[in-house]
Symmetry: C2
Subunit: 754 residues, 2 copies
Amino acid sequence: MSDFSFIGNPTPAVDGGEKVTGNLKYTADLKLGGMLHARFVLSTYAHAKIASIDVSAAVAVPGVRHVVTAADLPDLVPHSRMYLMLARGRVIFVGQPVAVVLADTLSAAADGAELVEVDYEPLEAATNMDAALAEGAPLVWPTGIPRGAGDEAAHGAEAGGDAGSDEEISNIAGTTRIERGDVDAAFAASDVIVERTFETPMVHQSSIETQALVVQPNPITGGANVWGSLQNPFGARWDIAEVLGVPESDVNVYGMPVGGAFGAKFGLYEPLVALLAATVGKTVSLVLTRGEELLTTNPAPALRMSAKMGFKSDGALMAMQTNVIADTGIYPSGLGGFAAMQFASFYPCENVLLESTNVVTFKPSVGAYRAPTSPTSFMAVETLFDEAAEQLGMDAIELRLKSAARGGDAMPDTGEFPTIGMVETLEAAREHPIWQHRDEARQKGHGVGVAIGGWMGGLEPGASVCKLNRDGVLQVQIGTADLSGTPTTFALLAAETFGIAPDKVRFVYSDTDSAPYGGGVGGSKTTYTLGNAVIRAAAEARKQTLSIAAEEFEVSAEDLEIVDGRVRVRGFPDRSIALGEIAGKSMTFGGKYEPVQGNGRQAVTDRAPSFSAQIAEVEVDEETGEVNLLNLAVLQDVGRALNPLAVEGQMQGGAIQGVGWALYEEMRYDDDGQLLSGSWMDYAMPDAVQASPIETQILEVPSESGPFGARGVGEPPVIATIAAIANAVAHATGVRLTQTPMTAPRVLEALEGR
Amino acid sequence: MSDFSFIGNPTPAVDGGEKVTGNLKYTADLKLGGMLHARFVLSTYAHAKIASIDVSAAVAVPGVRHVVTAADLPDLVPHSRMYLMLARGRVIFVGQPVAVVLADTLSAAADGAELVEVDYEPLEAATNMDAALAEGAPLVWPTGIPRGAGDEAAHGAEAGGDAGSDEEISNIAGTTRIERGDVDAAFAASDVIVERTFETPMVHQSSIETQALVVQPNPITGGANVWGSLQNPFGARWDIAEVLGVPESDVNVYGMPVGGAFGAKFGLYEPLVALLAATVGKTVSLVLTRGEELLTTNPAPALRMSAKMGFKSDGALMAMQTNVIADTGIYPSGLGGFAAMQFASFYPCENVLLESTNVVTFKPSVGAYRAPTSPTSFMAVETLFDEAAEQLGMDAIELRLKSAARGGDAMPDTGEFPTIGMVETLEAAREHPIWQHRDEARQKGHGVGVAIGGWMGGLEPGASVCKLNRDGVLQVQIGTADLSGTPTTFALLAAETFGIAPDKVRFVYSDTDSAPYGGGVGGSKTTYTLGNAVIRAAAEARKQTLSIAAEEFEVSAEDLEIVDGRVRVRGFPDRSIALGEIAGKSMTFGGKYEPVQGNGRQAVTDRAPSFSAQIAEVEVDEETGEVNLLNLAVLQDVGRALNPLAVEGQMQGGAIQGVGWALYEEMRYDDDGQLLSGSWMDYAMPDAVQASPIETQILEVPSESGPFGARGVGEPPVIATIAAIANAVAHATGVRLTQTPMTAPRVLEALEGR
């Protein structure tokens, strides 16, 4: 019997009807008066000098209003990809925007873009980490790698030896090094040492909805109104204001419904489109095509991770060491250092050495993708655990349980772990039928592998406002875009707190002018942090509501309860008043009560790390090398499953993307930097059959600080999939795959090398 | 030396730039995808049976999508004009919508509307109060006058003898009667009795912007998104939700900038347009033409007011009596009763008899117009005071001062007057040079007249939200449309309270989903009531801001001050932090402070009556009867002039409209109910020269409950103008005009009757 009235009930998405009927408007649906459509002219070379750009044929196309090149825009310091704008004199990756055609219609813009003639003088390019690190490699940034404030902070004191400005100019954007204890001595004292090098390629977030943005300039203030598919409308407001040179309050950003983001929509072309709109004085819409999306956005980095772990014969973890090389395309990124951190975050160990090197290459810059770098980090740590268990003759889960983090253990950065469910998750995996029957599976020629993934969870202050309307509906505002089903979850939180049915709660989308501060949607933090703001706002609204009713009934608020949409005097069910009537008394000419408007603000500073274990059962075709995923169980500690339907959706979605990482997806570039997987015909994502055998099991180890104990659920389920499948392949075949995707040719090659 | 930093400074409208450059978008500027334009087919008869409607030619016009008649719409009970929708079988005023053509373009809609053939069978109509009251008059509502809940409330217990349902059906929609003391005895004991009958015609609010509305239906929820020029977006939300049969929370209303309203935009065609949009499943835009605006909206009622006052020889006010007949067009209205109330509200008198009769006629229904009915009520009371002073041989201002309401006097409805400035306003008028030199003026053949007008002021709960952004800007939200310069005033209130420069305050327009409840803009209550909400929100935001700074500096918040956009430690000007930096610490990934978001809620229940005296100097051409307004001084107690520029604008605007009432404006109908002044060529409003000689003098008698002592300022300045000019005409010529507008023919007729 649940202690709750509404949370914990599987609740379909409140906006499901609008979405499936196509009634919900996305950014690409917006048609504003006088709006111009933008189409890029993209570089066809990874590295070339731009000798000339001839726009004459393009501007002659009927409907084309402007063809904009770098010469038309201010020459900003390109301290991040967002400020690179259009190529100026030189292109440094295939797909880099060189010019933009602005036209009355999309087709005119496309026609115009085809007619812009760019005369390139090709130059040698280094398009992967080895080529970029080679002696005499062509330099992505011959005068020095640009560094943004954010990037410097991502390295910084803890990281140690950054490649300072007095060093020689190279393609090395930075290095990090974190050492604790005495790693050499610990390895020397180890009975078993396991060591491998893992590689994952650039992988694309590939949402169904591409990047989309509309900017309407305001010639009076110099600011703008902006509509976009954005994970962080408040961040976009800041970025656009900065490039327009106005206070952020003169930019208003409408976070439109987001048709998938996964980390890719934290900012990319917002400053460029804002500058274009301001320059031509017209509303400009940019909606990327699928091909552009793959060529010119910000995928996950390519990582090469050498990793090493030492154990005593009783399974005690002695030392962990990793060295990560991150290929982050043309711009620096802190993701390599983060990958090294993630390797050693959840198995507390006294002797740790974490190093990373960030290499820039002539490819698009990189960004976040669901649990950034963690699939790679956990591929490393969980493969090595598996191998060590094998060598130690121990059960793979028991070995992990010896070292798994528990509440009170030291966290990798600072402080102690709060209550966490890593042990409970591993224990649940141990009891899972697939794991229990792994020997039978092996006898059938299958393999079963297990792995766990952990995520610290992001934090950010945020606020909410909660109003009661005359129809008895509670309106809840938060300042984030609709992403991953949060409206439904927030409706449940408000309903539970206020004491009203969830279908009497409406979630309100607002622009940055009107909305409470929400921060970015990402890092598995939205429900965890903003959920607390919603609860506080709803609680305050409830208190205000009861206070009005108390005055009406001339009783104490403590003697009142809310039942079935009415406030009633406890023990006197006939003395009751509808919630809408209470609201009406505060929303009317001459009314004597203040409107019900609860204010909820939060700045949770305690983390709530969450864990997802996965158990994969595979069959490997030894003739072709094809890996057939038979079963994939996803077990996850979500703290409290506020809406089990949404939680399971996140678990399944994450695991499907994990399957993509493990078996299918790769942004494959040739040596000239040409993208070979530049469409969804070539860039392989798991199809419905390939992704179907996913089973979910929700675990609940409540977090102290989450709303009703909830933890973030978005990131964890993508983390362990590669490792679980790789361990299953090893169980089936005896070979350890260390490179993804584990395609048939790669598996075949590994099998042949046995 | 002012005690304030910002309030009291004449401050130009914050949105002036956007307005004068045409950058600000009004409702008529909205172009939504797939939007259909609506054009009415209007009745050409005041009363007729509709034999048939032939739409065949109209639907054949290219671009015409639908021709809608009553048959296509649900047959709602027409309990108010808003629910009358389209004429069903019968038309009852010239200009009543009979059909609506919906087309892709405005011109196609107009072409279509011209081709709709309505076959009328004309019936006899009663188009003025006398005809409607005559024996055997044609009945506007042969089966009984419809009564809305709102209308019944406007009459009600206090009013006494309502024409109940058991009475004979007539054109009398209702009567009211209020009696205090013994009026007959008081008149019998009076030494001087003055008595006249006054008449004012229907007058139109005539904003520059006509009625305009866009409704986008939501087929999933059954609700809608609405954009409109509305005085009460929250009221429109309710009305539209009711007609669509959905909870109000499923309707979202964007209160667009309003290009003038003056009471006319509290609701009219919102339900019809919402039904049209829902019926055809498309976005529908209705923007009235000027001609439609004059024919088919809701002007001020025509009033005939018989009034009588008795005085003792020492000037003591013994008795007041009035009987009002209100011609309110096709629908009942409480305005006649209100006119009677206004007659006796501000000169406390023990013996009072107030009666009114509401007559319906075959003309458009009526609505509010700035200080509804008060120009007529004060024409009566202030003319009679003038005449009594003459007969008593007393100074006209001294006589008023004897009886003027003072703080502590009984208010007409209930309770006592709070601090008010009626006496101070009359005393200031007494000292005014025009009044002081009235004898010299008379010697030049001019006349000088004085009058005062009073307004109780409306009340309504409302709320505000106040946020601090990373650019150091304070964003202030309230839930009303932009009307009459309130953004600038609210910016001053927030600036003064928070301690920030007004140019660092931004006012945010929101829709009803996102905005705090604001109520209607009208009744001179917006600044008075919502101003308090803004102050509370800003004060809470300031407290939150200081609390963050206190933690940063490790000092008590009491030791901090805000100076020049920075929080600093008192006495240590070097220890300071920019406001934007404080906001930044609460609006960032990993931040430890809650976002600054102040919540301000208010339900002021004390009124703050305000008074405007006016002194007019006129010259009357005795050959033509033309009245030439030479000077008009407007003296007004505004409590506190938060923004003197805005206050003076209100005073001048009100007085200009008062001049229109006095000398020019009349909706003139012939006996068949045809509007003779159906365009701005015929409907005369004062032009720039005619309205130019207005001088303003601000008085400040602070109200106890207003923001920094402010009172509502919008309504009072229109009230006294008729009376001041009429009294000046009497001073110049010896004749008392009792009918407006005081056009040359009317004045000439009066002069001839001397």
